[in-house]
């Protein structure tokens, strides 16, 4: 497999093949590659001019997620932590004692209609203020199906009816009118019985969160979460799953897919490829706290799953909280993964893909070798075009970077950086629009910004 950073060489090879005159290759290569670089720069979008704010500037917003419906409307959700300068006293209004994993936020939603200049005013999705258990590393998930139903998965605060103590649970809600209204959230996990507060420390009795969700084109909803039921001192969570075959109206009973082997704070992610093919990414704890990113595949719409396979990378040993999610997307039969590995020097994101379901992932490559640190990956695809987005530091502050692949991950175009000005930025999310463009969202000084990105044409990329 060509490495990611062979993309420039790939373009030059194409040029050499077309030039056909060996003696002039070097000169022609330099001239044409400079010309190509100029064209790419000229066609790169003016991000500052094109990005729009989804959240209000006087509120603290974190962890955006986006989806796009068939008419091109952009739907965004994020955690709202309250007004700037407002003390976090929401917990006083929520049942249950204060505990060691406390977070009281709201889930806000806004939409950007195609003809509008920007987003609508945001609305709170969770009926009870402070109901959402939200951090940047425990993100909400939003997805749209081909009928333009909007599906949302989010983590929430709850009180165990068994122990009377605070727990964190996974909730699902949907909108059947393209974001006009959201149904009352459904708690996906069964109420946990055991009080594990002594094991978890500080009062949180159980956690059924760090979830992922994928929705098939026809609206089959696949929801996953990490679950502390059965947790022991080794602190390894189980993976649970529920499915709705009717667009999120009714869910089948929960199923425990993997028992006591998951990193308890590494959020699960999921993608579908058509109606039957479903992938779930998780981080499995192996041996002496080796945190290995793995992908599971179902070829029958979630009825059964093949054993998880590693996406590769150096073994990362850590008795701690990595807080790292694996980004995934599909092109053709390929499944692509992008995930942080703390064992790399410097620590950073590794990209890999498996050529087909059930096949091993190819040896991973650093997607941003120049970065001193890269993290928080997001990916989306359209046909054979793949977009990877993440935040990273090179020499200065954290910035958002992206790379396109026009050939399903064989090679990537040169690295590009979003021009986000002086803001403190991070935690990007991405979705595919019906016209093949991509919608990227990110945090900028705790304001959610959104913009379109368009892949350069094959001609521009030298294909």
């Amino acid at each position: 497999m060509p490495t990611i950073d062979q993309n420039t060489e790939y373009v030059l090879k194409k040029i050499r093949a077309n030039a056909g005159r060996r003696g002039e290759v070097t000169c022609v290569s330099v001239l044409v590659s400079s010309f190509l670089a100029l064209i790419v720069m000229m066609t790169a979008p003016d991000v500052t001019a094109q990005s729009v704010a989804a959240s209000q500037s006087d509120r603290r917003a974190q962890a955006p997620a986006v989806a796009v419906t068939s008419d091109g409307s952009v739907h965004a959700v994020w955690f709202d932590k309250g007004a700037v300068g407002e003390a976090d006293r929401k917990g006083e209004k929520v049942k249950g004692t204060h505990h060691s994993h406390q977070a009281f936020a709201d889930l806000h939603y806004a939409r950007w209609l195609p003809a509008a200049a920007g987003f609508s005013d945001s609305v709170r999705v969770n009926p009870t203020p402070g109901q959402v258990w939200g951090f940047s590393i425990s993100r909400p998930v939003i997805a749209a199906d081909e009928n333009d139903k909007i599906h949302i998965l989010f983590p929430g605060n709850a009180t165990s009816p068994e122990s009377g103590k605070a727990v964190a649970s996974s909730y699902y809600t949907r909108s059947t009118d393209e974001g006009g209204q959201f149904e009352p959230p459904i708690q996906l996990n069964a109420d946990p019985e055991d009080d594990l507060s002594a094991l978890i420390m500080g009062g949180l009795a159980q956690a059924q969160v760090f979830g992922g969700m994928a929705v098939s084109p026809k609206g089959v909803v696949h929801a996953f979460w990490l679950d502390t039921r059965g947790l022991t001192a080794s602190m390894r969570s189980s993976l649970y799953y529920r499915r709705s075959d009717d667009g999120g109206r009714v869910f089948a009973n929960e199923v425990r897919l993997r028992e006591n082997e998951q990193c308890p704070c590494c959020q699960v992610s999921a993608v579908t490829d058509g109606e039957d093919s479903l992938y779930v990414a998780l981080r499995q704890i192996q041996g002496d706290n080796i945190r290995t990113p793995m992908v599971m595949h179902s070829a029958d719409g979630g009825n059964s799953f093949a054993p998880p396979v590693s996406t590769g990378g150096a073994p990362w040993q850590l008795e701690g909280c990595p807080l790292k999610l694996t980004a995934m997307t599909t092109t053709g039969s390929r499944i692509h993964s992008l995930v942080h590995n703390g064992a790399e020097q410097p620590p950073g994101l590794l990209y890999s893909h498996a050529p087909a379901p059930g096949q091993a992932f190819l040896p991973p490559q650093k997607i941003h070798p120049e970065a001193a640190i890269s993290d928080s990956p997001a990916m989306a695809s359209s046909g054979q075009t793949l977009l990877a987005v993440w935040h990273a530091k090179e020499e200065g502050p954290r910035q958002i970077f992206y790379r396109f692949s026009l050939n399903g991950g064989d090679t990537f175009l040169p690295l590009q950086r979003l021009d986000t000005g002086e803001a403190s930025v991070g935690y990007p999310a991405v979705a595919t629009a019906p016209d093949g463009r991509f919608v990227v969202a990110w945090q900028a000084d705790e304001v959610i910004q959104v913009m379109y990105l368009e892949a350069p044409s094959e001609a521009v990329a030298g294909r």
Binding site: S57, D58, R60, K81, G82, V84, G85, E86, A87, D88, R89, G91, H98, S100, H101, Q102, A103, F135, I137, I200, M201, G202, M235, C265, N289, Q317, L318, E319, G320, C321, P322, L323, K324, H340, G342, P346, P347, A372, I373, D375, K393, P397, R398, S424, G426, D445, E446
Partner: protein
Amino acid sequence: MRRLFGAMMFNIVASVSAWSAGAHDPTLLVPMDRKMLQTELSDSRGQVLLVNLWATWCTPCLREIPDLLALETDFPSAEFRLLAISMDDSYSQEWVTEFKAQHFPTLVSFINAEPDMDLLVSVIDPVWNETLPTSYIFGRDGELVQKIQGKKPKAYFQEQLIAAGLKQ
């Protein structure tokens, strides 16, 4: 502008409260911005310094803290300093203070006052990957000598601190 003003006021109040009340009082949890962290690092020169990043939502961190507190009895206070910084949301200062008082009443800790925890930690470690717990050992000359990620046993910290120049 309102956001900037709010952040400035918060940091001013935090700095004043730290100065007036005593940032090293274990009954307090003083908000720490980048400037205060730089001051604390500078003030710790002459001691071997262990900076520990923790959070209430990080169970391995909470399990590690008793061992870190035990190190304070192993080494003379003139030679060794433990500086803990909570990565919890600074707006949660009140209840994190309650939590710390209940579980670790003798721990001298600050709480991140920057809007993003990476902004604060960048003073020490520009390439921190936001994994907890993370600890840093500084020598007496103020130079960073060791970065430690994940919960480690007390004996491991003892070894590293001795390697950094401490005598038991």
